[in-house]
Symmetry: D2
Subunit: 284 residues, 4 copies
């Protein structure tokens, strides 16, 4: 049973040892270990992917919970197999409703076989959408839209979220949050083609380059590595010379972005793709 353990703490003293000691001591095969040390933020993180007899899973969770409690670490155990038939999604959004709406419809229509566990906003704009589809709504932003990262994490934990989908959620997740849900659990939609147009105004940038092609990119978020390398899906559209930027943006937001994100989330939920050593690979 493929299992992913993530651990986040203030430094690497004694963080890795007890976890690795336990898994190697309980017949787990180590498939992948990644460690990161964000010196600037004195944040230490580890991802450990193991193969485990299913019977050991519950015990592992309990043991990791214990280690976390004793060592003051934030440890999570997750397996894509646990709710594989119908994974639970947290849909994070800000102002724009097109992409969350497309996700909710695709879930309703069975195109995406998942549960919309919760919608999380740093702005109230999408609340009505959550109510319309009868999905729990949690507001995590203050008056300036600055999100409470602790709360966002807590909501995902309490809702037993498998995948966090950033549907034009216009805030950057801090490294700590990225690491807590590392291993291919955070899916982002970028409204431009990566890696060419990574900025916050990709339509404007491509237009300023006189391009006639515009696109969107759905990718896993992997802290510290070029996001362009974790692309799950891209979709594009081309326009004739002379089309106004406003019209281009409208085409992108209303048609191309939703299409791009829905197909990307579908691929992950259907487990057609997975993150394998920082790379998106098609499952054999």
């Amino acid at each position: 049973m493929q299992t992913i353990i993530t651990a986040v703490g203030p430094d690497n003293r004694g963080l890795a040892d007890p976890i690795i000691h336990y898994v190697t001591g309980h017949g787990a095969n180590i498939s992948e270990i990644q460690m990161y040390d964000h010196d600037e933020e004195s944040l230490f993180a580890m991802l450990c992917r193991v193969d485990l007899p299913a019977a050991e899973y519950a015990a592992l969770q309990q043991a990791m919970f214990e280690i976390g409690r004793q060592k003051g670490l934030s440890i999570r155990v997750w397996s894509p197999d646990e709710r594989g038939a119908r994974p639970r999604l947290a849909i994070c959004c800000t102002h724009r409703t097109e992409t969350p709406l497309a996700l909710l419809r695709a879930i309703r229509d069975g195109q995406i076989r998942a549960e919309a566990a919760v919608m999380i906003g740093n702005r109230p704009s999408c609340r009505a959408l959550a109510e319309q589809f009868d999905v729990a709504w949690r507001m995590v932003g203050n008056d300036e839209g600055i999100p409470d990262e602790e709360l966002l994490t807590a909501v995902c934990d309490e809702q037993q979220v498998d995948y966090i989908v950033l549907a034009r959620y216009m805030r950057v997740l801090p490294p700590a949050t990225c690491w807590k849900f590392a291993g291919g659990r955070i899916i982002n939609l970028h409204h431009g083609l990566l890696p060419s147009f990574p900025g916050i105004r990709p339509y404007h940038d491509a237009h300023a380059n006189r391009m006639l092609t515009f696109g969107a990119t759905c990718h896993f978020i992997v802290p510290e590595l070029d996001a362009g390398n974790q692309i799950i899906n891209q979709s594009t559209f081309t326009v004739p010379p002379g089309m106004k930027l406003d019209d281009i943006i409208r085409l992108g937001q209303e048609d191309n972005e939703p299409r791009c994100l829905v197909e990307g989330v579908r691929r992950v939920v259907a487990r057609e793709v997975q993150l394998h050593f920082h790379r998106v690979v098609a499952r054999r």
Copy 2:
């Protein structure tokens, strides 16, 4: 009558004056003048776009011919109106046959309202194609495929070519040739998305960036300026994660590139777009 005069010579001493003097002296309105001095190559070039009473056109041609002869300059006079109903194309190619074949078919089927005046190769690979479509074939390359630029220019002149189409012609036109046919008469197909992937192996570059989007760009060639700014048409295709590069390249070469070039040439020939101060603009 919109008329474009191009002049190329070894330096700018006395090049501009007689030409400008003539046009301003014969009731032409100057719409655009661009001059370039390629210091490294001691090449001086001028583009002069004027509006002219149609009756003056023949006299202008004669006068420019005279100036060129006297001053030892390479001067050309051209108007998109001259053969506007059915412009003459030179199709330049090297090894790959997909894009020239697509052009010849589109011309045959009336999708592109133009005359395939001549096919020019720096390699013999496309000769059979020219014969199949009964188009004059001219070989300009030596055994290493190095083209004789004088010959290429002479062929375009003698064939009264309106537009030169580089259909996967894998040689760079020297600035002198570009200037002789400046003003939106040279159309290139680049087998990648510009400006992101300008290199000679754009499929490999995009793939190395783990992109799932691949594209082609049809653009006017404008010496000394970023080719990304003269885009006539772009077309793209996206692939699922894990597709092999060879399969991607095949899709691009056999389907996407021909489609991109045919539509680009159609837009120019149909005069839906034109080059206006280094920019591609849609004609009102």
Copy 3:
């Protein structure tokens, strides 16, 4: 006598003709003509560089003034020879005082043989500096620091400014202003290495790339063309691994930027370099 004529108007109808007609009709040799049509802003601009008998200069100025008045165009005639021995500078600044201070000292000490004709600010921060060096001070910004472009242009005209130096002036000059003083009269300091770090936070960008080299670039401003191509001077400094960004920025602002700008302005004022067809060339 090398003379530069610039003309700016709302469109190209009849702008070029009278000017070119006059100069070709009065024994001027045309060295360079560039025209631009900023479709988005319905702004048309022309640069015309001619060689003229010195005796014709005053008459040309008068004639161009007349044409401008009649046609409602903004026309300027300027020659680097006019005040070649001691050109007049407008020093534009915003908040930072290091680079304007360095310029004023270099002028006082004779390192830069020029006249500090006026200091122009969109913020009041550098006013004391102007008073200290007894240089006329003109405030062109409103409470938000938004400059009155008409006023800025008027000040440069009335002060008979030869060169406009942007000494960490943190506003972008609009194309119209750039064209009014085209031909190598606007000198900018960018606080990063061009073309690699063109953004507004080049120190942060280079640092984020883990670079140990930081630099500044002094360049002519040429609208619509890659500023990286008009570099007059660059200077750099390198730091050991681990140096804090704040310390790096301090080194750059207090030492490297002033050095870079002073040497760049010196080269222009001493006419060691000139702008020649959009390129900076060393004068023979």
Copy 4:
């Protein structure tokens, strides 16, 4: 005692477990683990950095040697402390002699406190240099200069090399070789500023961008990650407008590149910097 274990094998089945099992079972503290799976090349690699009682070091080496033998893995154990006072260098070169010469002189003069254990060439050009400084010379290239990677690795092993210095060695080390000596043991000189000019002709690229600044970069080689992030030292020089490219290249090769590499190697050998989770950090 800081100790680095690297293991390279055909896949990840059972590679990590025995190594990690041993180190966790013998009182080693795990400081860092990185794993990579080069799917394209079916190459699996692991880096494990541990803190170890010095007394355990020999036993660890023996145990890892055993595991390697049994599992058919290529395993190495290395500690910067082992020969910390006077580490042994392999200097790899191709044609250019400036940078290897500068290294040999700096070692002879005590500026770099290290042993020139061996010089390795894929071309014979630097052989005389090795003889002049009485350093062992090993030729690893065939007639086309293609290196025998097995031989290169074997030479570094038999010579007990601590650091491999690529002194204008114009071949790319394959991932397997990089991983065998991972953890900050491979130092490269790139003859351009990274990350801006990563290509094989960085002088030409910077010159084509009309830059007046040229530089060199000394960096650790870390497979799969942007080399720009592992910069040990950069040095630059600026030139006046108009300097010929050949003169610029000469300045770079004869003066700037040697200076850059010597200081970079000095920093590593003196342990002023170290590689810490893919980043170069200054040691406290």
